[in-house]
Symmetry: C2
Subunit: 206 residues, 2 copies
Protein backbone atom coordinates (compact mmCIF):
# COMPACT_ATOMS: atom_id res chain seq x y z
CA UNK A 1 0.00 0.00 0.00
CA UNK A 2 1.35 3.47 -0.82
CA UNK A 3 1.95 5.84 2.07
CA UNK A 4 -0.68 8.56 2.48
CA UNK A 5 1.80 11.33 1.68
CA UNK A 6 2.79 9.79 -1.64
CA UNK A 7 0.90 11.31 -4.58
CA UNK A 8 -0.97 8.67 -6.53
CA UNK A 9 -0.65 9.43 -10.28
CA UNK A 10 -4.00 9.92 -11.97
CA UNK A 11 -4.86 7.58 -14.85
CA UNK A 12 -3.48 8.91 -18.19
CA UNK A 13 -6.79 10.15 -19.56
CA UNK A 14 -7.58 12.19 -16.47
CA UNK A 15 -4.06 13.58 -16.29
CA UNK A 16 -4.35 14.90 -19.83
CA UNK A 17 -7.52 16.73 -18.84
CA UNK A 18 -6.19 17.77 -15.45
CA UNK A 19 -3.16 19.41 -17.06
CA UNK A 20 -5.41 21.67 -19.13
CA UNK A 21 -7.38 22.78 -16.06
CA UNK A 22 -4.22 23.28 -13.99
CA UNK A 23 -2.55 25.24 -16.79
CA UNK A 24 -5.53 27.56 -17.08
CA UNK A 25 -5.42 28.16 -13.30
CA UNK A 26 -1.66 28.76 -13.42
CA UNK A 27 -2.09 31.33 -16.19
CA UNK A 28 -4.87 33.07 -14.24
CA UNK A 29 -2.61 33.35 -11.20
CA UNK A 30 0.84 34.06 -12.61
CA UNK A 31 0.35 35.11 -16.22
CA UNK A 32 1.00 33.26 -19.45
CA UNK A 33 4.75 34.00 -19.43
CA UNK A 34 5.21 32.01 -16.23
CA UNK A 35 3.42 28.85 -17.38
CA UNK A 36 5.61 25.75 -17.13
CA UNK A 37 5.00 21.99 -17.19
CA UNK A 38 6.93 21.80 -13.92
CA UNK A 39 4.48 24.13 -12.19
CA UNK A 40 1.52 22.23 -13.66
CA UNK A 41 2.97 18.95 -12.33
CA UNK A 42 3.45 20.53 -8.90
CA UNK A 43 -0.14 21.73 -8.83
CA UNK A 44 -1.42 18.25 -9.66
CA UNK A 45 0.87 16.50 -7.19
CA UNK A 46 2.41 14.33 -9.92
CA UNK A 47 6.03 13.80 -10.90
CA UNK A 48 7.74 16.45 -13.01
CA UNK A 49 7.92 13.96 -15.87
CA UNK A 50 4.24 12.96 -15.85
CA UNK A 51 2.78 15.82 -17.99
CA UNK A 52 5.33 15.05 -20.72
CA UNK A 53 3.44 11.83 -21.46
CA UNK A 54 0.69 13.98 -22.92
CA UNK A 55 2.39 17.26 -23.84
CA UNK A 56 5.86 17.21 -25.42
CA UNK A 57 6.41 20.80 -24.28
CA UNK A 58 4.94 23.73 -22.40
CA UNK A 59 3.89 25.19 -25.76
CA UNK A 60 1.90 22.07 -26.64
CA UNK A 61 -0.05 22.36 -23.40
CA UNK A 62 -0.60 26.09 -23.96
CA UNK A 63 -1.81 25.36 -27.49
CA UNK A 64 -4.35 22.87 -26.13
CA UNK A 65 -5.58 25.40 -23.51
CA UNK A 66 -6.00 27.98 -26.27
CA UNK A 67 -7.61 25.53 -28.67
CA UNK A 68 -10.33 24.86 -26.11
CA UNK A 69 -10.89 28.58 -25.72
CA UNK A 70 -11.59 28.81 -29.46
CA UNK A 71 -13.76 25.71 -29.34
CA UNK A 72 -15.89 27.14 -26.53
CA UNK A 73 -15.90 30.57 -28.13
CA UNK A 74 -17.19 29.14 -31.43
CA UNK A 75 -19.86 27.13 -29.59
CA UNK A 76 -20.89 30.31 -27.76
CA UNK A 77 -21.17 32.20 -31.08
CA UNK A 78 -23.13 29.35 -32.65
CA UNK A 79 -25.57 29.48 -29.72
CA UNK A 80 -26.57 33.11 -30.51
CA UNK A 81 -30.15 34.08 -31.13
CA UNK A 82 -30.66 33.53 -34.88
CA UNK A 83 -32.47 35.79 -37.33
CA UNK A 84 -33.64 35.34 -40.93
CA UNK A 85 -32.22 38.72 -41.92
CA UNK A 86 -28.43 38.56 -42.36
CA UNK A 87 -28.16 42.07 -40.91
CA UNK A 88 -30.03 41.10 -37.76
CA UNK A 89 -27.98 37.92 -37.51
CA UNK A 90 -24.77 39.97 -37.75
CA UNK A 91 -25.98 42.24 -34.96
CA UNK A 92 -26.83 39.23 -32.83
CA UNK A 93 -23.38 37.78 -33.52
CA UNK A 94 -21.76 41.04 -32.41
CA UNK A 95 -23.66 41.09 -29.14
CA UNK A 96 -22.79 37.45 -28.51
CA UNK A 97 -19.11 38.22 -29.18
CA UNK A 98 -19.17 41.09 -26.67
CA UNK A 99 -20.85 38.86 -24.10
CA UNK A 100 -18.08 36.28 -24.39
CA UNK A 101 -15.38 38.91 -23.98
CA UNK A 102 -17.09 40.22 -20.86
CA UNK A 103 -17.85 36.85 -19.28
CA UNK A 104 -14.52 35.13 -20.10
CA UNK A 105 -11.83 37.84 -19.93
CA UNK A 106 -8.97 35.38 -19.40
CA UNK A 107 -9.97 33.09 -22.27
CA UNK A 108 -10.56 36.12 -24.49
CA UNK A 109 -7.11 37.50 -23.72
CA UNK A 110 -5.49 34.13 -24.44
CA UNK A 111 -7.06 34.00 -27.88
CA UNK A 112 -6.51 37.58 -28.99
CA UNK A 113 -4.30 39.46 -26.56
CA UNK A 114 -1.25 37.38 -25.70
CA UNK A 115 1.51 35.71 -27.74
CA UNK A 116 0.72 32.35 -29.32
CA UNK A 117 3.00 29.40 -28.61
CA UNK A 118 5.98 29.76 -30.89
CA UNK A 119 8.24 26.79 -30.86
CA UNK A 120 5.99 24.10 -32.33
CA UNK A 121 3.29 23.53 -34.92
CA UNK A 122 -0.24 23.42 -33.59
CA UNK A 123 -2.62 22.46 -36.41
CA UNK A 124 -5.57 21.78 -34.08
CA UNK A 125 -5.33 25.26 -32.58
CA UNK A 126 -5.17 26.89 -36.00
CA UNK A 127 -8.12 24.82 -37.26
CA UNK A 128 -10.34 25.77 -34.32
CA UNK A 129 -9.35 29.44 -34.52
CA UNK A 130 -10.20 29.46 -38.23
CA UNK A 131 -13.53 27.79 -37.47
CA UNK A 132 -14.49 30.64 -35.11
CA UNK A 133 -13.54 33.21 -37.78
CA UNK A 134 -15.57 31.26 -40.36
CA UNK A 135 -18.74 31.88 -38.36
CA UNK A 136 -18.32 35.61 -39.03
CA UNK A 137 -17.39 35.00 -42.68
CA UNK A 138 -20.51 32.88 -43.16
CA UNK A 139 -22.82 35.62 -41.91
CA UNK A 140 -21.04 38.20 -44.08
CA UNK A 141 -21.43 35.94 -47.13
CA UNK A 142 -25.16 36.09 -46.52
CA UNK A 143 -24.96 39.90 -46.15
CA UNK A 144 -23.06 40.25 -49.41
CA UNK A 145 -24.80 37.45 -51.30
CA UNK A 146 -21.67 35.32 -51.22
CA UNK A 147 -20.32 34.54 -54.67
CA UNK A 148 -16.66 33.54 -55.09
CA UNK A 149 -15.84 37.02 -56.39
CA UNK A 150 -16.86 38.50 -53.04
CA UNK A 151 -14.26 36.58 -51.09
CA UNK A 152 -11.91 39.51 -50.49
CA UNK A 153 -14.81 41.83 -49.69
CA UNK A 154 -16.11 39.32 -47.15
CA UNK A 155 -12.68 39.05 -45.51
CA UNK A 156 -12.13 42.82 -45.43
CA UNK A 157 -15.49 43.33 -43.80
CA UNK A 158 -14.86 40.42 -41.44
CA UNK A 159 -11.69 42.19 -40.28
CA UNK A 160 -13.68 45.41 -39.90
CA UNK A 161 -16.40 43.75 -37.80
CA UNK A 162 -13.92 41.76 -35.75
CA UNK A 163 -11.70 44.76 -34.99
CA UNK A 164 -14.77 46.88 -34.15
CA UNK A 165 -16.04 44.34 -31.64
CA UNK A 166 -12.55 43.69 -30.29
CA UNK A 167 -12.03 47.41 -29.71
CA UNK A 168 -15.46 47.93 -28.19
CA UNK A 169 -14.90 45.06 -25.76
CA UNK A 170 -11.46 46.39 -24.85
CA UNK A 171 -12.47 50.02 -24.34
CA UNK A 172 -15.62 49.23 -22.34
CA UNK A 173 -13.61 46.94 -20.04
CA UNK A 174 -10.57 49.20 -19.72
CA UNK A 175 -9.88 50.81 -16.37
CA UNK A 176 -8.99 53.95 -18.29
CA UNK A 177 -12.56 54.61 -19.43
CA UNK A 178 -13.86 54.91 -15.88
CA UNK A 179 -11.39 57.71 -15.15
CA UNK A 180 -12.24 59.90 -18.10
CA UNK A 181 -14.88 62.53 -17.61
CA UNK A 182 -17.57 60.78 -19.67
CA UNK A 183 -21.17 61.19 -18.49
CA UNK A 184 -23.03 58.09 -17.29
CA UNK A 185 -25.82 58.40 -19.92
CA UNK A 186 -23.14 58.46 -22.63
CA UNK A 187 -21.51 55.31 -21.25
CA UNK A 188 -24.91 53.63 -21.08
CA UNK A 189 -25.56 54.37 -24.78
CA UNK A 190 -22.01 53.75 -26.03
CA UNK A 191 -22.32 50.08 -27.06
CA UNK A 192 -25.57 50.64 -28.94
CA UNK A 193 -24.17 53.77 -30.60
CA UNK A 194 -21.00 52.02 -31.73
CA UNK A 195 -22.91 48.98 -33.05
CA UNK A 196 -25.04 51.40 -35.07
CA UNK A 197 -22.01 53.24 -36.46
CA UNK A 198 -20.43 49.93 -37.48
CA UNK A 199 -23.65 48.93 -39.23
CA UNK A 200 -23.68 52.23 -41.10
CA UNK A 201 -20.08 51.80 -42.17
CA UNK A 202 -20.89 48.36 -43.49
CA UNK A 203 -24.09 49.55 -45.12
CA UNK A 204 -22.40 51.82 -47.61
CA UNK A 205 -19.29 49.68 -48.00
CA UNK A 206 -20.79 46.66 -49.80
Amino acid sequence: MPKKTEPVPAPPKDLREACVVAARDAIAEHGIENLSLRDVARRLGVSHQAPYKHYPSRDHLLAEVMRRCFENFAAHLDARKRFESPRDDLHSLGLQYLRYAQEHPLEYRLMFGTPWPASAEHPDLIRDAAHAFDILREVLRRVHGGTAGKRDQVDLDALFIWSSMHGLAGVMQSDCLGHLDVRAPVLARATEHIMEMVGRGLGSGG
Copy 2:
Protein backbone atom coordinates in the same frame (compact mmCIF):
# COMPACT_ATOMS: atom_id res chain seq x y z
CA MET B 1 35.31 54.95 2.62
CA PRO B 2 32.52 52.54 1.71
CA LYS B 3 33.53 49.05 0.62
CA LYS B 4 33.31 48.40 -3.15
CA THR B 5 30.46 45.91 -2.71
CA GLU B 6 28.30 48.40 -0.82
CA PRO B 7 25.79 50.09 -3.10
CA VAL B 8 26.09 53.87 -3.07
CA PRO B 9 22.59 55.41 -2.98
CA ALA B 10 21.91 57.71 -5.93
CA PRO B 11 20.97 61.33 -5.18
CA PRO B 12 17.20 61.67 -4.50
CA LYS B 13 16.31 63.30 -7.80
CA ASP B 14 18.04 60.62 -9.87
CA LEU B 15 16.56 57.85 -7.77
CA ARG B 16 13.06 59.13 -8.43
CA GLU B 17 13.76 58.95 -12.17
CA ALA B 18 15.68 55.71 -11.95
CA CYS B 19 12.76 54.02 -10.22
CA VAL B 20 10.49 54.83 -13.16
CA VAL B 21 12.95 53.36 -15.67
CA ALA B 22 13.59 50.27 -13.54
CA ALA B 23 9.86 49.73 -13.00
CA ARG B 24 9.23 49.87 -16.74
CA ASP B 25 11.99 47.30 -17.30
CA ALA B 26 10.63 45.07 -14.54
CA ILE B 27 7.16 45.15 -16.08
CA ALA B 28 8.60 44.32 -19.52
CA GLU B 29 10.37 41.30 -18.09
CA HIS B 30 7.98 39.88 -15.51
CA GLY B 31 4.60 41.44 -16.16
CA ILE B 32 2.72 44.14 -14.32
CA GLU B 33 1.40 41.76 -11.65
CA ASN B 34 4.93 41.05 -10.44
CA LEU B 35 6.03 44.68 -10.05
CA SER B 36 7.24 45.46 -6.53
CA LEU B 37 9.25 48.28 -4.92
CA ARG B 38 11.53 45.59 -3.50
CA ASP B 39 12.41 44.33 -6.98
CA VAL B 40 12.92 47.88 -8.23
CA ALA B 41 15.32 48.57 -5.32
CA ARG B 42 17.21 45.36 -6.11
CA ARG B 43 17.59 46.35 -9.77
CA LEU B 44 18.99 49.74 -8.78
CA GLY B 45 21.31 48.34 -6.13
CA VAL B 46 19.77 50.52 -3.41
CA SER B 47 18.31 49.59 -0.04
CA HIS B 48 14.79 48.19 0.06
CA GLN B 49 13.65 51.33 1.85
CA ALA B 50 15.13 53.82 -0.62
CA PRO B 51 12.30 53.88 -3.22
CA TYR B 52 9.77 54.62 -0.46
CA LYS B 53 11.29 58.10 -0.13
CA HIS B 54 9.71 58.92 -3.48
CA TYR B 55 6.85 56.44 -3.85
CA PRO B 56 4.69 55.61 -0.81
CA SER B 57 3.67 52.32 -2.45
CA ARG B 58 4.11 50.10 -5.50
CA ASP B 59 0.87 51.55 -6.86
CA HIS B 60 2.24 55.09 -6.69
CA LEU B 61 5.25 54.06 -8.75
CA LEU B 62 3.04 52.21 -11.23
CA ALA B 63 0.81 55.27 -11.51
CA GLU B 64 3.85 57.42 -12.34
CA VAL B 65 5.03 54.93 -14.99
CA MET B 66 1.56 54.98 -16.53
CA ARG B 67 1.24 58.77 -16.27
CA ARG B 68 4.37 59.14 -18.37
CA CYS B 69 2.93 56.77 -20.95
CA PHE B 70 -0.09 59.06 -21.31
CA GLU B 71 2.13 62.13 -21.38
CA ASN B 72 4.27 60.70 -24.19
CA PHE B 73 1.21 59.34 -25.97
CA ALA B 74 -0.46 62.78 -25.94
CA ALA B 75 2.76 64.43 -27.19
CA HIS B 76 2.91 61.83 -29.97
CA LEU B 77 -0.71 62.58 -30.97
CA ASP B 78 -0.07 66.34 -30.85
CA ALA B 79 2.89 65.85 -33.20
CA ARG B 80 0.68 64.40 -35.98
CA LYS B 81 0.59 65.93 -39.42
CA ARG B 82 -2.11 68.64 -39.19
CA PHE B 83 -4.80 69.45 -41.72
CA GLU B 84 -7.22 72.34 -42.12
CA SER B 85 -10.12 69.97 -42.76
CA PRO B 86 -11.38 68.40 -39.49
CA ARG B 87 -12.03 65.15 -41.36
CA ASP B 88 -8.47 64.96 -42.63
CA ASP B 89 -7.16 65.86 -39.19
CA LEU B 90 -9.23 63.05 -37.67
CA HIS B 91 -7.77 60.61 -40.20
CA SER B 92 -4.27 61.81 -39.40
CA LEU B 93 -4.98 61.41 -35.68
CA GLY B 94 -6.14 57.83 -36.29
CA LEU B 95 -2.98 56.92 -38.17
CA GLN B 96 -0.84 58.53 -35.46
CA TYR B 97 -2.71 56.53 -32.80
CA LEU B 98 -2.08 53.27 -34.69
CA ARG B 99 1.60 54.15 -35.05
CA TYR B 100 1.96 54.61 -31.30
CA ALA B 101 0.28 51.27 -30.57
CA GLN B 102 2.61 49.54 -33.01
CA GLU B 103 5.83 51.25 -31.88
CA HIS B 104 5.16 51.16 -28.12
CA PRO B 105 3.25 47.94 -27.42
CA LEU B 106 4.21 47.80 -23.74
CA GLU B 107 3.25 51.41 -23.02
CA TYR B 108 0.06 50.96 -25.01
CA ARG B 109 -0.89 47.89 -23.00
CA LEU B 110 -0.19 49.68 -19.72
CA MET B 111 -2.56 52.49 -20.62
CA PHE B 112 -5.43 50.46 -22.06
CA GLY B 113 -4.92 46.75 -21.54
CA THR B 114 -3.95 46.09 -17.92
CA PRO B 115 -5.48 46.94 -14.53
CA TRP B 116 -4.88 50.42 -13.17
CA PRO B 117 -3.38 50.83 -9.68
CA ALA B 118 -6.22 50.38 -7.25
CA SER B 119 -5.25 51.15 -3.70
CA ALA B 120 -4.56 54.88 -3.94
CA GLU B 121 -5.69 58.06 -5.60
CA HIS B 122 -3.63 59.18 -8.58
CA PRO B 123 -4.86 62.58 -9.75
CA ASP B 124 -1.86 63.22 -12.01
CA LEU B 125 -2.43 59.97 -13.89
CA ILE B 126 -6.12 60.74 -14.37
CA ARG B 127 -5.36 64.29 -15.52
CA ASP B 128 -2.88 63.14 -18.16
CA ALA B 129 -5.15 60.34 -19.38
CA ALA B 130 -7.99 62.85 -19.75
CA HIS B 131 -5.68 65.20 -21.64
CA ALA B 132 -4.94 62.50 -24.24
CA PHE B 133 -8.67 61.81 -24.65
CA ASP B 134 -9.30 65.57 -24.99
CA ILE B 135 -7.16 65.64 -28.15
CA LEU B 136 -9.70 63.35 -29.81
CA ARG B 137 -12.63 65.32 -28.38
CA GLU B 138 -11.17 68.55 -29.72
CA VAL B 139 -10.95 67.22 -33.28
CA LEU B 140 -14.49 65.85 -33.06
CA ARG B 141 -15.77 69.23 -31.83
CA ARG B 142 -14.38 70.68 -35.05
CA VAL B 143 -16.05 67.88 -37.06
CA HIS B 144 -19.41 68.50 -35.39
CA GLY B 145 -19.08 72.27 -35.11
CA GLY B 146 -18.79 72.06 -31.34
CA THR B 147 -21.54 73.83 -29.49
CA ALA B 148 -22.31 72.88 -25.89
CA GLY B 149 -25.36 70.89 -27.01
CA LYS B 150 -23.09 68.55 -28.99
CA ARG B 151 -21.16 67.39 -25.93
CA ASP B 152 -22.76 63.95 -25.69
CA GLN B 153 -22.52 63.46 -29.44
CA VAL B 154 -18.82 64.33 -29.33
CA ASP B 155 -18.22 61.86 -26.51
CA LEU B 156 -20.21 59.07 -28.16
CA ASP B 157 -18.25 59.52 -31.37
CA ALA B 158 -14.99 59.78 -29.44
CA LEU B 159 -15.75 56.38 -27.91
CA PHE B 160 -16.56 55.05 -31.39
CA ILE B 161 -13.30 56.34 -32.89
CA TRP B 162 -11.22 55.24 -29.91
CA SER B 163 -12.68 51.73 -29.83
CA SER B 164 -12.28 51.42 -33.62
CA MET B 165 -8.59 52.32 -33.48
CA HIS B 166 -8.06 50.22 -30.35
CA GLY B 167 -9.60 47.20 -32.06
CA LEU B 168 -7.73 47.75 -35.30
CA ALA B 169 -4.41 47.98 -33.45
CA GLY B 170 -5.22 44.86 -31.44
CA VAL B 171 -6.36 42.70 -34.36
CA MET B 172 -3.53 43.70 -36.67
CA GLN B 173 -0.98 42.90 -33.95
CA SER B 174 -2.63 39.69 -32.74
CA ASP B 175 -0.85 36.42 -33.37
CA CYS B 176 -4.24 34.98 -34.23
CA LEU B 177 -4.61 36.99 -37.44
CA GLY B 178 -1.49 35.49 -38.98
CA HIS B 179 -2.93 31.99 -38.58
CA LEU B 180 -6.26 32.63 -40.24
CA ASP B 181 -6.53 31.95 -43.93
CA VAL B 182 -6.65 35.61 -44.98
CA ARG B 183 -4.96 36.49 -48.29
CA ALA B 184 -1.95 38.82 -48.19
CA PRO B 185 -3.56 41.49 -50.43
CA VAL B 186 -6.52 41.61 -48.02
CA LEU B 187 -4.19 42.06 -45.04
CA ALA B 188 -2.34 44.80 -46.90
CA ARG B 189 -5.59 46.71 -47.54
CA ALA B 190 -7.21 46.03 -44.15
CA THR B 191 -6.15 49.16 -42.26
CA GLU B 192 -7.14 51.50 -45.08
CA HIS B 193 -10.46 49.67 -45.54
CA ILE B 194 -11.31 49.84 -41.84
CA MET B 195 -10.37 53.53 -41.59
CA GLU B 196 -12.72 54.16 -44.51
CA MET B 197 -15.56 52.20 -42.93
CA VAL B 198 -15.13 54.12 -39.69
CA GLY B 199 -15.24 57.40 -41.61
CA ARG B 200 -18.45 56.31 -43.33
CA GLY B 201 -20.04 55.33 -40.03
CA LEU B 202 -19.20 58.75 -38.66
CA GLY B 203 -20.33 60.51 -41.82
CA SER B 204 -23.96 59.55 -41.48
CA GLY B 205 -24.01 59.60 -37.71
CA GLY B 206 -23.58 63.33 -37.06
